[in-house]
Amino acid sequence: MHQLSQQIFSGLAAGAIYASLALALVMIYRSTELVNFAQGEMAMFSTYVAATLVDAGLPFWVAFLVTLLVSFLAGMAIERVVIRPVENAPALAAVVVCIGLLLIFNSLAGWIFTYTVRDFPSPFPDRPVLGALMTTRDLGVIGVTLVMLLMLFAFFRFTATGLAMRAAAQNPDSARLCGIPVGRMLAIGWGLAAAIGATAGIMVAPVLFLDPNMMGGVLLYAFAGALLGGITSPVGAVVGGLIVGVTENVVGTYLIASQLKLTVALALIILVLVLRPNGLFGTAIVRRV
């Protein structure tokens, strides 16, 4: 029994990591209907920016806020310069552009910061809680993810900009007719997603250790989690991420040898999606004929 609770809590801790990146994926999808394959690498790059600032002597929280701001602006700039030209092109072109961004960020990070693994300071102390089932650091990650979720939820539901963004994503032409600056909404969407990704990276780096390939595996799980929860739903992203984390741990320990953990976990997720093709909390994509 202890083993099971051990695995479940490890799973929640890991799941929170996936959930935080999944939130960024959902943000981009809701604002531009694109899956951004470069999200993980952007988050990693932001984390390196934060690491550089911390190395230079800035206190952690100052470095954190500066990185958020820089990431927000960079995200907006990327949407304007890199994504805008292919927004009206065939869908595949946008996918290829995102893959290109992934390669560029990964390669630049490796070149500028080298591929050697390094550690990263955490604002949370590293003490065991709940009888060694988790540490305060894991709780910190879960906590920050939930805070981001709440902020995102409130943003889309209760603010004018959030409403405008939803309109711009759903029906850009009508939104324009209402006076909504659609272009700016798209850019803000990417900027926010980049900031969320930066937060995710900074929270996660003390646990995973920082290197240019830090987010590679995480992106895959985050993607699965976001889709499981419903790619349009922030709540779904978090729930999905947590479920993926727990499933993966439990499956790897009890169901099948750890060598097939990833395969079986993905198979289970796909099984769920077969039953609910739009994810647990997602809304069906309705198209007019």
Binding site: Q3, T114, Y115, V117, D126, P128, N213, G217, N249, T253
Partner: protein, 406 residues
């Protein structure tokens, strides 16, 4: 004979001798070698999941740069051509063919990774191109009978796991052993080596094993599962990132097994400090080389030489990274072989000299550990020593142990 006749005879004789001398003095050359240059080919994963090892290639190149600045080898400069194969065997095959057929290198050196090297081994042996000092510790590189052109360098993973097995059998005969391993040839070789070393007690003693992929974000789940098996000895076969996570998690969940750690990941700065210095107290590892972040070596002249070289030639690599020391040492071995070739720089002679090293010492190898090879012995480094972490540094203990590690 008249004076004039003897003079002519003498001069002609001298001329003949001189031209023969010039023909030989100019050296015997295989492809890639000349009076001024020696071309060495290499593939390394400078990108992709194994990119942390790219430092080895960079460091070797940096060492060759220093040798060139100091005059080269017997007056010849080393032209080190290193390309990125991203750890993908088809790419390695392509790049190696390019190096051999287009760039016409004299030999391949320090090619990294078991799958990439396995892919190119038949081609290089068929074409009689030296595949020297490969950067992998798999057991299969010591096979001069079938692959006379391929030679390893590192003490093999099998040798190392045999050393751990012997230690366990002697000191912890009733142990229950758990193994955490990376799900590739590196991890599997250790697991199999441990099994082999424990002999017929292996099935009884090894109670659990868990693998992880390099795409897994953490190994927390695996560590917890291994604890659940009731084991009191843990062998961690992981690259630095996951080794640090493992040591940290073992401590955090309150598990106190006797821990053995692969020599690939025993860096004080990159692993022990990252995990938390107090969390790694008591961990046992084996080593053959000096960790640059270990305080016990930092006052020595050999370390100072290495550091000076790092700062001048290899400043983009971290002085905390043992891979930079490994690349340095590999390169020194290559230089020793090439020096021994003298002016006979044919592929045959390179291979002959490589298989003829006797007690070569290198500054950054542990004191007492030397490099030796022979026509039947293609394992340059066979010795390791055990060490235990005390919270600040690794304390060597026991004797230097030899293994054939097959």
């Amino acid at each position: 004979m008249t004076v004039k006749q003897s003079l002519v005879t003498g001069l002609s004789a001298a001329g003949v001798i001189l031209s023969i001398g010039l023909a030989y003095g100019a050296g015997q050359y295989g492809p890639g070698a000349s009076d001024t240059e020696i071309k060495i080919g290499n593939t390394m994963p400078y990108s992709g999941p194994a990119s942390a090892y790219g430092v080895i290639g960079k460091s070797a190149g940096a060492y060759f740069a220093m040798v060139n600045d100091q005059g080269g080898i017997n007056g010849r400069k080393i032209n080190f051509i290193s390309r990125d194969d991203g750890y993908s065997p088809p790419k390695t095959v392509e790049l190696v063919r390019q190096l051999v057929e287009q760039d016409q290198v004299l030999l391949l050196f320090l090619t990294l990774g078991t799958p990439p090297n396995t892919a190119i081994r038949p081609y290089l042996n068929d074409n009689k191109v030296p595949q020297l000092f490969v950067a992998t510790g798999a057991n299969k590189w010591n096979d001069p009978k079938h692959y006379p052109w391929t030679m390893g360098w590192l003490p093999s993973y099998g040798t190392e796991s045999h050393i751990y097995a012997s230690h366990i059998l002697k000191n912890l005969p009733n142990a229950k052993v758990a193994v955490l391993y990376q799900n590739d040839d590196f991890g599997k070789d250790y697991l199999n080596g441990l099994r082999d070393g424990l002999g017929d007690k292996a099935d009884k003693m090894i109670v659990a094993s868990q693998s992880y992929e390099t795409t897994d974000p953490t190994v927390d789940s695996q560590v917890a599962a291994l604890q659940g098996s009731g084991a009191d000895v843990l062998l961690t076969v992981a690259v630095p990132k996951f080794a640090a996570q493992s040591i940290r998690k073992v401590y955090d969940i309150g598990w106190k097994p006797t821990q053995f750690l692969t020599s690939v990941s025993n860096s004080v700065a990159l692993v022990m400090k990252a995990a938390g210095l107090e969390k790694g107290v008591g961990v046992i590892s084996a080593t053959y080389i000096k960790d640059p972040t270990d305080p016990q070596w930092q006052g020595t002249p050999e370390y100072k030489d290495w550091l000076a070289w790092m700062q001048k030639y290899n400043s983009s690599s971290s002085t905390a990274d043992v891979e930079a020391v490994i690349g340095y040492s590999y390169a020194q071995t290559m230089v020793a072989v090439l020096k021994a070739c003298g002016d006979n720089l044919t592929r045959d002679n390179v291979m002959k000299q490589a298989a003829n090293l006797h007690n070569l010492t290198l500054p950054m190898l542990l004191p007492g550990i030397t490099i030796s090879t022979g026509p039947d012995d293609y394992a340059p480094i066979k010795q390791m020593q055990l060490q235990k972490f005390d919270g600040t540094t690794w304390k060597l203990f026991g004797d230097i142990v030899s293994g054939s590690g097959s």
